[in-house]
């Protein structure tokens, strides 16, 4: 493809970034990772373009290539008419870039960080005060100029990172996963900042994200998966392909058999995707049809189920595209685990928490927390970073003693009898805590031995894990070389070796691709069906919707409790007939902050 002319594009719709036949490989140990394979697309100026895909899609590699931080193996990236491989320094003089960890100096104050970037971009001293004012005002950081960047919250760091990238207004702003690990309120504020730049300065923005729901905020979307380009269009066009193919199935009576229905539907050839969202099921069909036809096609009992058409989401189209890409390979992998046998006669609560409190010095991490979880229930703990999720979780697992309150797990008082309670708990940590140097089988061996399984029983359980999680073929591969989805399955298998009654999952599917996430949740649903109680923490709003019940936490307190449908129903309005879990969460946080402000204003 011929080089784009060197004059800087200024008109809206001109090509500001162009990628052609771009490939990049990395050597990781003995393995070659194809981070990007022959990717081509173009980014238009004056709009927000989202580079969307799960972890491992090649997003960061692509952004770094565009910034001249990597050299391509083949193909070219042209930014503002300049070749990133040969004119990197000129590109770096022009663009604003924020890497994944914001690139801030944590031991420098907000002002000092801004000063540094102003110096690096040689912004004339005369222009600085006005620019600083504008950026600080826009990011709401004006009261915090003297605070060290390391002392800022995740959301504030992110805004400071953007302010630094914008110090000398660039024609193109590149943001690499700006919303990772940031609470939904700050995410929404980030989008406001981004759009203000686009509208006021005519800036072009190219950003990457692993959150599929953010695609809808972009004017145009570039979809990637495992280093390959899947498509580029406006989000509406993506969704348009799915009109009349997305449905919500409500239960008319007791919802006890929603998991059975999930299983039935997931094997149906007409099904592209089916997931549990609270009390409902969401179905994406292969062909377009009306709700009546859905009843017929899937042989649903109209006495039991009510079917409504639903607005297609971006995630639906991503799944649709992935399924087509992978073809039949993805179809029949849906194994349902014949899970642990739990005594179903025991009907008491699996987890009972009353007035739980935990203090760290003066700081109250968890404040008067009360909830109960029934057996076989999937229970979610939703909150932003710092909400007290992890502290609660650690207390429930017996890793951290409570300051006061009652804590019962599987019928045992955790404050009195920690060991017997632990024997009934399976725990899957956030980063999977596997031994990367050991093979899959060796990991299973180790974890089963750690749970005191021996001899025949140990062999049986390992075989069970290999069979039900599809790990048999890769049992001799080192676990560090496995794709994320496999690592996750292995970690789940390891946590289930001793047939626990209660399974704790800490942020189980963040960053994972939606297909792998669905597969994982199929396993979890299977376990719940067999009577295993599952407790999940997540900051991922979508994941919260998969739970039967959940509590939403902020600053150590409970903001709301209920099923996902109950919670979202609170904020239904004519403007927003189907509020998402994220909308609900933001509403709840805003209400909470306002309630907090009132007493503070009255007492000086």
């Amino acid at each position: 493809m011929p080089a784009v002319s060197k004059t800087q594009p200024k008109q809206k719709g001109d090509i500001i970034l162009s990628v052609s036949d771009l490939s990049k490989q990395f050597q990781v140990g003995k393995h070659t990772v194809h981070a990007l394979s022959e990717v081509s697309f173009q980014v238009k100026s004056g709009i927000v373009t989202g580079l969307i895909g799960p972890d491992g899609a090649g997003k960061t590699t692509l952004m770094r290539l565009a910034c001249g931080l990597f050299l391509p193996d083949s193909g070219t990236v042209t930014v503002l008419g300049m070749d990133a491989a040969h004119e990197a320094i000129r590109i770096q003089q022009s663009i604003g870039y924020m890497p994944q960890r914001f690139g801030l100096y944590e031991d420098l104050s907000v002002q000092e960080n801004l000063d540094l970037y102003a110096d690096l971009h040689t912004l004339p001293a005369g222009k600085r005060p006005a620019r600083y004012d504008k950026l600080l005002h826009m990011t709401g950081l004006t009261p915090f100029t003297d605070r060290l960047a390391g002392r800022l919250s995740g959301g504030m760091k992110q805004k400071l990172g953007i302010a630094c990238a914008l110090v000398s207004p660039p024609p193109l702003l590149i943001l690499d996963e700006p919303t990772v690990g940031v609470d939904p309120v700050s995410r929404r504020e980030l989008w406001d900042i981004v759009y203000s730049q686009v509208e006021e300065m005519g800036m072009s923005v190219f950003l990457s994200t692993a959150y599929l729901d953010e695609a809808e905020q972009c004017s145009e979307v570039v979809l990637m998966h495992e280093g390959k380009f899947l498509g580029q269009d406006s989000p509406d066009t993506f969704s348009a392909e799915l009109v009349n193919r997305t449905f919500v199935i409500h239960s008319r009576g007791s919802n006890s058999n929603k998991r059975k229905l999930l299983r039935e539907l997931s094997f149906h050839p007409q099904t592209i995707d089916v997931i549990i969202l609270g009390d409902t099921l969401r179905l994406v069909t292969r062909e377009s049809m009306d709700p009546k036809k859905v009843v017929n096609t899937f042989a649903l009992d109209p006495q039991k189920w009510k079917i409504n058409a639903s607005k297609p989401r971006f995630e639906d189209s991503f799944i649709d595209k992935l399924k087509r890409l992978k073809g039949a390979a993805a179809e029949n992998k849906r194994t349902v685990i014949a899970a642990a046998k739990v005594d179903k006669r025991d009907t008491g609560d699996a987890i009972l928490v009353k007035n739980l409190r935990r203090e760290f010095g003066d700081f109250i991490a968890v404040k008067d927390l009360s909830f109960s979880v029934g057996r076989g229930e999937i229970f979610g703990l939703l909150g932003a970073n710092g909400a007290g999720k992890t502290t609660t979780f650690r207390m429930l697992c017996g890793l951290l003693p409570a300051t006061s309150g009652t804590l019962q797990v599987a019928g045992h008082d955790l404050r009195a009898a920690r060991a017997p309670a632990r024997a009934k708990i399976g725990y899957m940590a956030q980063k999977f805590s596997l031994y990367g140097d050991l093979t899959v089988r060796q990991n299973l061996n180790f974890f089963s031995a750690a749970y005191e399984l021996r001899g025949k029983r140990q062999k049986e359980r390992i075989q069970w894990a290999l069979d039900s999680f599809g790990l048999a073929e890769i049992q001799n591969s080192e676990s560090s070389n496995l794709p994320l989805g496999y690592k996750q399955r292995l970690a789940l298998a390891a946590a289930l070796m001793h047939e626990p009654e209660i399974l704790f999952l800490d942020e189980p599917t963040s960053g994972i691709d939606p297909l792998a996430r669905r597969e994982f949740w199929n396993h979890i649903n299977g376990l719940a069906d067999a009577g295993v109680t599952v407790m999940v923490t997540t900051h991922f709003m979508e994941e919260a919707s998969y739970c039967d019940n959940l509590i939403i936490m902020a600053r150590g307190q409970v903001l709301a409790t209920g099923s996902p449908s109950e919670l979202t129903a609170r904020y239904q309005s004519p403007d927003n007939p189907e509020p998402s879990m994220e909308d609900t969460f933001i509403h709840l946080i805003e209400e909470f902050e306002q309630r907090k402000k009132r007493p503070e204003n009255t007492t000086p």
């Binding site: 801030l104 420098l108 000063d115 110096d119 690096l120």
Partner: protein, 371 residues
Amino acid sequence: MNFTRLRGLVRKESLQIIRDPSSIGIAFFLPVLLLLLFGYGVSLDARHVPLAVVVEQNSPQAMALVSGFKQSDYFLPVSMRSIQEAEQAMMQRQVDGIIWLRHNFAQELMTGSEAPVGVIVNGVDANKARLIEGYVTGVWYNWLERMTGEQGQQLKMPVTVEHRIWFNAEVNSRNYLVPGLIAIIMTLIGAMLTSMVMAREWERGTMEALMVTPVTIREITSSKIIPYFILGMGGMLLSVLMAVFLFHVPLHGSMWALLCSSSLFMFTAITMGLLISVAAKSQFVAGQIAIVITFLPAFILSGFVFDIRTMPVVIQWLTHLVAARYFVDILQTLFLAGNIWPLFLVNSAWLALMALFFLMIIKKKSHKLLE
């Protein structure tokens, strides 16, 4: 090189130095600790050597010899009743040597027929054994001289040695060790400081953000050299002050020569640190490499303790690659002998050459790339 950018980076670096105790710790705490540890702990002198003295039969001559040992600063004599007891003490390492005056010592001395004093020295530490042996002989000659003088005879000795020790008249090994030690410490500090602060930028992901600005590699490199050079020189000054005022090492050479050569050496050490950071992207690895490739060779191959001329030829060649070797030479000369310009200039030229060489590699190997 753009002045605004460089100023911004240097200011950033200085603020980080002030706020992060680890770099100040490396620059000031580490030299103090190492100097105290080595300055007091390592000594190549034999002083107050515990010595068993076995006198089987008292006589005026025997008493005179024993008192000769008692008066000597080098020995701490312990009287023992029998040679068996003394041997036992030697086995248990309570004493490092035995002086054995047999029962016939006085008689034999009069008749002058055979060697009357038995000396047994613990030879495990060959160096020390040789020192003890020498000191014992010294005491013995003193005594002999006195004895013969008292008896009005002239002791007939074929040669009388009239010795004088140059440069370190007190023959105090600390005077020789401390300047060398300063060179070793400065190697570690210069290399460790810079390699670790560069690695910190990689570790914290700030390097990535830095690279996507108009900044050039040369500006980044300079912004690391300037503040850490000043910091390192602060540590150097502290070490020199400690050497002069705490360890009382005489400084014969000029302050200017000291300042010039230390600046040159600090610069070389910092370029070594930058070179390490080309390969090491984590602080832990950078610290380890700094110790293994700068501190250890400096310790062993710089001639700070182990004389280079006694090493096998191949190892002697190898010592030319160790920058500390030149600085050890400069410092030992400046402190103990004074301004010996030919030596000073040759060593300085080597240091400058090394720094230049390192800078060239750094320039070739650093790119504004993440891979």
